[in-house]
């Protein structure tokens, strides 16, 4: 039953084709993974990676092609079927019940070894065993809502292993992790590989892919470009395979004269959702033509910082100034009208209405201004025109402007939000994790746009957990730790080591 380990020696996907309306998501893709191997899957946003994997997990069914497990052709009807065959999948959005404990979540939907009586003690023991074997540290008795993102992911992995997964699909598992958590995950993955598990790993971070995979397959526009062994490949080579052209991994960051103070926080404090102090006496100034990076380990007040500026979270003390005006009491809409743009961290949750079309989401911030609406009435021609203009200007890949936004790939949703926010030529831009889960081509593009805004005199607050991103773009770097600004370091004096120490809360001794 649950405790037996199935084994998958090889899994092959042969000439898989999958169509969506207006999109050929997978075009005769051939892909295979073996037991004891980590096979990385790379590709731009919308290249068809998730679609290919969802067919393996029974969420979609191929239009053509064949799946073979250990040489036997199989049809995978549903996720239940996939699990029965030893295939597990960790989605980017976790599928856990918040109110239940870790053990209850793991046991959910599984028969109890005591018939109608719960066997949570046995489940807990087994979780302990798994977590020891693979370094997956969690407390089986903890309710899921108390867990951090990294811990929740470990619960998902344990859940899959508990169900006897011999092959594990991880769809962008590191997108939500801090660098430290990602390192822990890699230790686990390597351990699983040693044990003979087959692993498929999707990521946009080339560094990670090169670090842990045995083979690498690249998809582009739904087709397989190539599968290469991870020997002698460089990040630049992979980037070229993904995008089909050379990609700049470095950013041209010209020194600029900075102007007046556009955004100022003076002694700001605020509470988080649970009522604890999340920001303590934060003072920051961002000038026109400047990018101020905010570095820090996630959960140290970054989200609250962005929300306080956007007007989505009340201040517990201090003030926020836009262009020299105290806007502390202004509602979000008024701040937007005063030239503030905000790229929220939770793009699916805060940034768009998933059911709306691309065009409707593109006017979410100025639906009540001409020409988008006149008086009470929306102007559909203007909405369509704005949609077409921004889709082409920002290179958003979508079958049409009337496509529901939820069917776009993550990177394209991010481009949509960027298009909406930047097209207003904001004076102040707050960008929270703007390239999380975004492919390198689009990341390059977004970075260039942010630098363009800077050149045009926008004041940008860039909140990111990706140090490379901060070091590439920011003029000055503020490090946040437990809601306090530890220090603000000019770009020239910033090194990964120095920032790392500050991020860990170690203040510098003169």
């Amino acid at each position: 039953m649950s405790n037996e380990r199935r084994k998958i020696n090889s899994l092959e996907m042969i000439k898989i084709t999958k169509r969506f309306p207006g999109v050929l998501a997978n075009d005769q893709v051939t892909f295979d993974v073996k037991g004891g191997e980590i096979h990385a899957l790379l590709g731009e946003n919308g290249a068809g990676k998730s679609t290919l994997m969802r067919q393996l997990y029974g969420l979609y069914h191929p239009d053509a092609g064949e799946i073979r497990i250990d040489g036997q052709a199989v049809t995978i009807q549903s996720p239940t079927d996939a699990i029965a065959r030893g295939i597990g999948m960790i989605h980017q959005h976790f599928m856990l019940v918040d109110e239940l404990t870790v053990a209850e979540n793991v046991a959910l939907g599984m028969p109890s070894s005591r018939g109608p009586v719960l066997d949570l003690d046995r489940v807990e023991a087994r979780i302990q065993a798994l977590s020891q074997a693979y370094g997956l540290h969690v407390n089986p008795k903890a309710p899921v809502w108390t867990l951090a993102v990294g811990e929740r992911q470990r619960v998902e992995i344990i859940k899959a292993l508990y169900r006897g997964a011999a092959l594990l699909i991880l769809d962008e598992p590191t997108a939500v992790l801090t660098p430290q958590e990602a390192d822990d995950l890699f230790v686990t993955l390597k351990q699983m590989k040693e044990d003979g598990h087959a692993l498929i790993f999707i990521s946009h971070k080339l560094r990670e892919v090169v670090a842990i995979s045995d083979r690498i397959s690249v998809l582009r526009g739904g087709r397989l470009v190539d599968t290469v062994p991870n020997q002698g490949v460089t990040r630049a080579m992979l980037a070229r395979m993904m995008v089909g052209r050379d990609v700049l991994l470095e950013r041209a960051h010209k020194a600029l004269e900075t102007g007046v103070v556009r955004l100022a926080l003076r002694g700001v404090s605020a509470l988080n959702v649970t009522g604890q102090a999340a920001l303590r006496n934060v003072t920051l100034e961002v000038h026109a033509g400047e990018i101020l990076g905010v570095a820090g380990v996630s959960g140290n007040g970054q989200r609250e910082l962005a929300e306080v500026i956007a007007g989505l979270r009340p201040l517990a003390g201090g003030s926020v100034e836009l262009d020299g005006r105290n806007v502390s009491a202004w509602p979000p809409g008024k701040r937007t009208d005063a030239g503030l743009a905000y790229i929220p961290e939770e793009r699916m949750h805060d940034g768009i209405v998933q059911e709306f079309s691309v065009a409707q989401n593109l006017v979410l911030q100025d639906y009540d201004h001409p020409p988008i609406s006149r008086g009470l009435f929306l102007n559909f021609n203007a909405i369509a025109a704005r949609g077409r203009e921004l889709v082409s200007a920002f290179n958003i890949r979508t079958p049409s402007i009337d496509t529901p936004t939820r069917s776009l790939s993550g990177g394209n949703i991010q481009k949509l939000i960027l298009a909406r926010e930047l097209s207003r030529n904001p004076k102040v831009l707050v960008a929270a994790q703007p390239t999380r889960g975004v492919d390198i081509g689009a990341t390059e593009y977004i970075h260039q746009r942010l630098l363009e805004q800077r050149a045009q005199g926008a004041a940008t607050l860039l909140i990111s957990e990706d140090l490379d991103e901060i070091l590439a773009l920011a003029d000055r770097i503020a490090v946040i730790y437990e809601g306090r600004i530890m220090d603000i370091v000019p770009r020239k004096q910033a090194t990964a080591e120095r920032l790392g120490l500050l991020m860990a809360g170690v203040a510098e001794k003169e």
Partner: protein, 373 residues
């Protein structure tokens, strides 16, 4: 062909019809158990609902309040709230409309009628506003508050119709039937097909259906209501005052139910009496669901359910079965419609045509929001 039969576009239309047929089949079994011949019963029902000019007129008359209530339900649903308070809102709307019309009975008829309908709608809106403000301010569950407001409205009616608003003629005759004095003839809604009860309210309801459609999909107010309903945090981020629009969704829902009450008074009964609300507050929800919570979809849905109500009465008289059976069939229809929604979504995933179907549906979000994966 087989492919076409399984395509979401076809299923979208075929399944609700299949749901109705399935509900009728089970209803047929119930009829048979009650000792009636189901075929005969249904034949009578059909004839009673749609079989003659007078039957159609009766159906359209019942359709009017159903459609009005359903329109309110559509707005509330789009704003992300569920209004179970139709009954209470109809009652207070009808009470206020009656009191108002009797009070200002000497005004010119057209003016009095217009104002009376307005008063009905405003009173329903106020009744909805109680639930709306409680929800927006204190996050009180609107399903509970609207249900409780129904009970309060009912007691209020019992008190008023037996006390202050009791018809003086009833008092004089000593019969004391709980009903109000009749409204002045000058303000009655125009009868469209005498001697049937069909009145001009149906035209008003149809016009309003189109206006509600325009409101929801063509105006900034509708855009805000739908944004708030689909994703309140994105709405907040876009600078929309979310609590206001939550309350507004319930207020507009109440306004339409209140108007339905006033229209029943001015068009059918010409006075307020017990039982005027006729369960429309609940059947209207069924009609709205069947119409996929779209104001234009509510038109055929209200017509169908209006017909069922009329036909059921006829069936009760002729075949001697309780018309409550129709209530059971209504419930079955809802169950099958909701179940078929899930089926359509599965089919869509199977054929991978989610986006196509979703764009078809983007104007009519699925009734059930259960996540499938």
């Amino acid at each position: 062909m087989a492919r076409f039969l399984r395509s979401p576009r076809f299923l979208e239309i075929a399944l609700p019809i299949a749901a109705v047929l399935a509900a009728f089949m089970i209803g047929g079994v119930l009829l048979w158990l009650l000792g009636a011949n189901p075929f005969e019963a249904y034949w009578v029902l059909l004839g009673g609902a749609f079989g003659s000019v007078s039957a159609l007129a009766a159906t359209l008359t019942k359709m009017t309040p159903l459609l009005l209530v359903a329109l309110g339900i559509c707005i509330s649903y789009r704003g992300g709230v569920i209004n179970i308070g139709g009954e209470g809102q109809i009652i207070v709307g009808a009470l206020a409309a009656t009191a108002f019309a009797l009070w200002l009975r000497d005004l010119p008829g057209w003016l009095l009628l217009t104002l009376t309908l307005l008063v009905g709608a405003l009173t329903g809106a106020a009744w909805g506003a109680i639930a709306g403000v409680l929800k927006a301010r204190l996050n009180v569950n609107e399903i509970l508050s609207t249900v409780m407001l129904n009970a309060i409205a009912l007691q209020l009616m019992n008190f008023l119709l037996r006390g202050p608003m009791l018809d003086p003629e009833q008092i004089a005759a000593g019969t004391n039937i709980a009903q109000s004095e009749a409204l002045p003839r000058t303000m009655w809604l125009l009868r469209l097909a005498p001697p049937t009860l069909l009145h001009a309210g149906i035209i008003l309801a149809l016009v309003l259906a189109v206006l509600v459609y325009l409101l929801l999909w063509r105006t900034t107010i509708g855009y805000r209501i739908r944004t708030v309903g689909l994703n309140p945090s994105a709405a907040r981020y876009a600078g929309m005052p979310v609590p206001f629009y939550v309350a507004l969704s319930l207020i507009l829902g109440g306004a339409f139910a209140g108007l339905a009450g006033a229209v029943e008074v001015a068009g059918v009964q010409h006075r307020m009496l017990e039982g005027l609300s006729g369960g429309y507050g609940f059947s209207g929800i069924v009609a709205a669901l069947f119409g996929k919570l779209h104001p234009l979809g509510a038109i055929p849905a209200a017509f169908l359910f209006g017909g069922l109500l009329v036909g059921a009465n006829k069936m009760q008289l002729t075949v001697q079965v309780p018309s409550a059976l129709i209530t059971a069939i209504n419930g079955l229809v809802v169950m099958f419609v909701v179940a078929s929604e899930v089926y359509v979504r599965r089919a869509r995933r199977r054929t991978g045509r989610e986006a196509a179907a979703a764009s078809l549906q983007s104007d009519a979000a699925p009734v059930t929001q259960a996540s499938t994966f």
